[in-house]
């Protein structure tokens, strides 16, 4: 571990936080699991993982974490939201990102799937993406850049320093999206 490795938080109220922690740790970041507002202090970046968005939203309310999370986002700290994390960041929840998520948009678990996605400005070919009871972006504002789609539905997007993905890059072997997030984190920390 290098001394100036960025400190990345992973929201660990419920869900796929362990897999994100494993990937980020493997890429040389320092990782902190976040369960209370005090855990947000000093973070260079934050991941909101997949899981159940209802469960996570209730946890955010119980811990009094909604305002601290909004403050972290408005301070310019890079955020990565995957699957439920995309939902938690949308207009109807934390309102950090100008998107409207549609939950379980592809259907129940039997409709969960893997697919190769063409990704805007990402070198090295398509991303192999794992979609689990995944949402898509049903509507978005003009400040949102769509990065990938499945059959015309946006499943990856960026707005400033916030990156959201409908799928689970932490479950695959292709870590380019985590690397790209860490580049943002390092740039913002400078």
């Amino acid at each position: 571990m290098v001394v100036d490795a960025p400190l990345v938080g992973v929201l660990a109220l419920q869900g796929g936080y362990a897999a994100h922690t494993r990937v980020l740790d493997g890429l040389g970041a320092r990782v902190r699991e976040v369960r209370v507002p005090a855990d947000l202090a000093g973070l260079d970046g934050l991941v909101i993982p997949g899981g159940e968005s209802t469960t996570m939203s209730l946890g955010i309310d119980r811990e009094g974490m909604a305002e601290p999370l909004r403050a972290l986002a408005s301070s310019g700290t890079p955020l990565l939201g995957t699957c439920a994390g995309l939902i938690v960041l949308d207009r109807a929840h934390l309102g950090v990102m100008d998107i409207q998520a549609r939950r379980n948009a592809f259907g129940r678990q039997v409709r969960s799937f893997e697919a190769d996605l063409r990704f805007a400005d990402l070198e090295g070919g398509p991303v192999h993406a794992v979609f689990i009871r995944a949402p898509w972006i049903a509507a978005h504002g003009p400040g949102v850049e769509v990065l990938a789609e499945v059959d015309g539905h946006p499943v990856a997007a960026r707005q400033g320093h916030v990156l959201v993905l409908s799928f689970h890059p932490e479950l695959g072997d292709d870590h380019r999206l985590h690397e790209r997030f860490l580049e943002d984190v390092r740039a913002a920390a400078r």
Partner: protein
């Protein structure tokens, strides 16, 4: 059209991965399902009778009425699981046709086959199975299970068997990590488990799928205990809706599971909950009443 590979093993085990750090609650109707969801359950298990009632009523315990499962599916947006009898692949086909999110091939129901478990590879829906030991867990994974739960003794409210099974499984995993390659093959024979899976556990120090805990968890402290012992999530059956105040108990178990390493938070969760479920001491059960022995 984007080419899609549906229902791969990665997608099945991936849903189990997303249920980590959470609580899966038994519910018998749509109202209970809504209470569970509002309390922060990560998923619900839809079944007509919770295990403590199955014990009380006796008789053959079967898959639930599809109408009940559908009502629960319509009531909540979190994943809905349902139970099939061990070896009863037609009950599993029915639950798959209902598009439940997970099927529990469960010893809580009366087994339909005393030699064979369901061939879980044949299904698009992921399966969870119970285990009391590492060999049993790996046999189930070999049959296609995408999640393992330690069995405990369902419907007792006594956590002792859940602790025993979790310690056995985790202890056997640690022991495999100390063996040489040649010894791993012998260990696989002793475990009666597929060699490739035993090799993977010896290499990785963990099961190839998430390991949750079930059977006898009745309080927030029980849930935190199982999490600290290595469970990645907990199933709570009779413990929620057979307690005095299910709404508070449900929220308290969720909070204690998230903050299992923080004794002050677990203490706060335990405060003023009223009576836990009526309980049975697991070691005083007659042999025929022991559910954990079902499974082969």
């Amino acid at each position: 059209m984007t080419m899609r590979d549906e229902s791969t093993f990665r997608v099945k085990a991936g849903l189990a991965e997303m249920l980590k750090g959470g609580v899966i609650m038994d519910v018998v109707d749509a109202d209970q399902a809504r209470v569970a969801e509002d309390a922060g359950a990560a998923a619900v298990m839809a079944l007509e009778r919770v295990p403590s009632d199955i014990r009380r009523d006796g008789g053959v315990a079967r898959m639930s009425d599809p109408a009940m499962v559908k009502a629960v599916q319509q009531a909540v947006t979190i994943p809905v699981m349902a139970k099939a009898r061990i070896g009863h692949f037609v009950e599993a086909q029915v639950l798959a046709a209902l598009e439940v999110d997970f099927i529990d091939e469960s010893e809580v129901l009366t087994p339909a086959d005393e030699a064979h478990h369901i061939d879980k590879w044949a299904f698009k829906v992921p399966f969870v199975c119970g285990a009391t030991s590492l060999g049993e867990a790996l046999r189930r994974i070999g049959e296609g299970a995408a999640m393992i739960r330690s069995k405990g003794e369902a419907g007792t409210g006594d956590v002792v068997e859940a602790v025993r099974h979790m310690r056995v499984i985790r202890g056997e995993i640690r022991r495999l990590g100390t063996l040489e390659d040649a010894e791993v093959a012998t260990a696989a024979k002793a475990l009666q488990a597929p060699l490739e899976l035993v090799r993977a556990v010896a290499r990785d120090g963990k099961l190839p799928v998430p390991l949750f805990s079930a059977g006898g968890i009745a309080t927030p402290a029980d849930a935190a205990l199982m999490m600290q012992l290595g469970a990645e999530s907990v199933f709570v059956g009779s413990g929620i809706f057979k307690s005095e105040d299910p709404v508070r108990m449900a929220a308290a178990v969720v909070e204690a599971t998230t903050h299992c390493h923080d004794p002050e938070r677990v203490a706060a969760a335990c405060e003023g909950l009223g009576a836990a479920m009526a309980s049975l001491e697991a070691r005083k059960l007659e042999p025929a009443q022991v559910l954990a022995d079902r499974g082969w």
